[in-house]
């Protein structure tokens, strides 16, 4: 009799614990957003915005933790076991690598959210010193003898790969799809590069703070940020006649999210990036909004540009990687003998 009683007691206790834990777990979920370097401030603010939105719509609390670093390094960390629920990286190639090497998400991840899974875009522009003393107006001016160009190493920097493909795409169009011509342009361009920083921020520092070089090839958001930080009396932005549409993508790391039970909130976290509020926030941090209404509102910040995508300019990331940045690719040939 006694043992039955104690068994019942145990059962009640177990039930109590289960009920308690069941009611605790969904009330607060945790997400880890693994991102690249320059997005730190944007996501800090966006995480607060999303937490409010999630609380208002579902009544649940969500805490989003962030991790930042070079895009490629972050992708490797996720492959090696960093438990990211979502990744928001600088280029699709890095998320492809997570899909291929880790099998943590589907290979067709980029079709799961609107606009190639890129809620914001940016573009590659030229930042010059005030007054434009070297008269730089387009890509052609960068290969003039004596002009010093600052751009990071495309082998180590995701941002630099966008720069490289922007210049390549321009040169290819200019020479009427003649690859030999484009190759010669790139060779001349990199002959004018005195320093190859390992990351995009490093290159910005070299140009802006060390005073090295006449022109910095940079993402528009980095260039606008530099002007905001150091004043419009120091630098100006030159928009070239044609440039690349930079699309930093986002994705749910499905396998991890499933294990954490955060699939729904992770997806909502990324979908909310397309909302008017988040688009406006992105514009505040100099990312070009996808939403037309918001884009129109900020038309004075973002000048009209004539862009081509990676697909149009270089046949997509897999091709671009194999052709330009892999061992023995066009970038290595520039420095080969």
């Amino acid at each position: 009799m006694r043992s039955l009683y104690s068994r019942i007691k145990l059962l009640i206790l177990v039930n109590l614990v289960l009920v308690a834990s069941a009611s605790v777990v969904p009330a607060q979920s945790h997400l880890l957003n693994v991102s690249y370097d320059p997005t730190r401030e944007f996501y800090e603010e966006y995480n607060r915005l999303f937490a409010q939105h999630w609380k208002a719509t579902t009544g649940q609390d969500v805490v989003v933790n962030q991790s930042h670093g070079g895009s490629g390094k972050q992708a490797r960390a996720v492959i090696d076991g960093l438990e990211a629920d979502v990744v928001t990286l600088a280029l699709a190639y890095d998320i492809d690598a997570i899909a291929q090497n880790g099998g943590l998400l589907d290979k067709d991840w980029q079709s799961k959210l609107p606009n190639n899974s890129t809620p914001f875009t940016s573009t590659v522009v030229l930042l010059v010193r005030k007054g434009n003393p070297q008269h730089i107006h387009d890509w052609d001016d960068l290969v003039r003898p004596g002009v010093k160009v600052i751009t990071p190493n495309p082998k180590t920097s995701g941002g630099a790969r966008w720069n490289y493909l922007a210049a390549w795409g321009y040169a290819l169009r200019k020479s009427g799809n003649n690859e030999q011509g484009a190759r010669e342009y790139m060779k001349k361009l990199f002959a004018n590069v005195p320093v190859l920083d390992s990351g995009a921020r490093g290159a910005t520092t070299t140009f802006v703070q060390r005073g090295v070089g006449d022109v910095l090839i940079a993402w528009e958001n980095e260039a606008l940020l530099a002007i905001k930080e150091f004043g419009p009396d120091k630098f100006e932005i030159i928009v070239p006649s044609a440039t690349i549409l930079a699309e930093p993508p986002v994705a749910v790391v499905e396998k991890v999210a499933r294990r954490h039970g955060t699939e729904i909130v992770a997806r909502a976290y990324l979908e909310y990036l397309y909302s008017p509020e988040a688009q406006e926030l992105g514009a505040k941090y100099f990312y070009r909004p996808r939403l037309k209404a918001v884009a129109d509102k900020y038309a004075s910040v973002f000048p009209k540009v004539n862009t081509f995508t990676v697909l149009e300019g270089a046949g997509g990331w897999q091709n671009a990687q194999a052709k330009h940045f892999a061992d023995g690719g066009t970038f290595d040939q520039i420095y080969g003998k």
Partner: protein, 293 residues
Amino acid sequence: MLVKLADNSQKRGRSWSLFRKSSPLPGFRLSFLFMAIYMTVIVFIPLTAIVLHGAREGFGAFLHTIAAPRVLASYRVTLGSAAAAAAFSALFGMLLAWVLARYSFPGKSIVDALVDLPFALPTAVAGISLTALYAEHGWIGRYLEPLGIHVAFTPIGIVMAMSFVGFPFVVRSVQPVLEDLDQAMEEAAASLGANSWQRFTRIIVPVAFPALLTGSALAFARAAGEYGSVIFIAGNMPMKTEITALLIVTKLEEYDYSGAAAIASAMLALSFTIMLLVNILQWWVQKREGKRG
């Protein structure tokens, strides 16, 4: 328990006589065990993993990776700069150690503490500040520029960053030896008619040389493995100012794990060979000194 173990080892100590000279300190077996575990877990397993990972693609691919022109150029840049930095550190580290050991001046303890600072400072900070100083518009760089001396983004900058992280090793190796050196020996030599150069070459150098060699070898090793400070000041131009560590990072960036491991193994082998040679040299010097003394 420990005492008992030590006791046992004393009793059965004879079987270990191959490994050790008889010592009054107990606990050889225990400490040997700890040493073995430590070396295995912290040093041997990670290093073996690197070599195995590097060899995964087969010997041909391994050789192709580590002997590519750009990689060969990076060994030259890295080891050459590290050797130059070690030589520079040896000279000025010795000088500084001498000053600290022999003279007293106001603020000496502050200088003494400053020597250790490069150990504690994150190396990236050192690299960034050196670059800021020596870039063409930096505080120092702007005066060197008209003279045609470029420091930042050239091999000179690499040597400078490597010397910064390396020279405390020389100071800290040589200083205690110089402090322990009995001045009476020099006085005796002087009273026997030795001039100052003779006293320096015959007494101070032989005593300090093994320590100087150790310090320089450590400085060299530190410099050869340095990444954080060098990367900012090097300019990272392929074939010219690209260090091996950057090429390893580059390979990782391409998700080429085995390529990265292959270059790392090659660097490991090179560094190990050089350290081994220095150790042999040191052993030889000590033996010669021992005979003479």
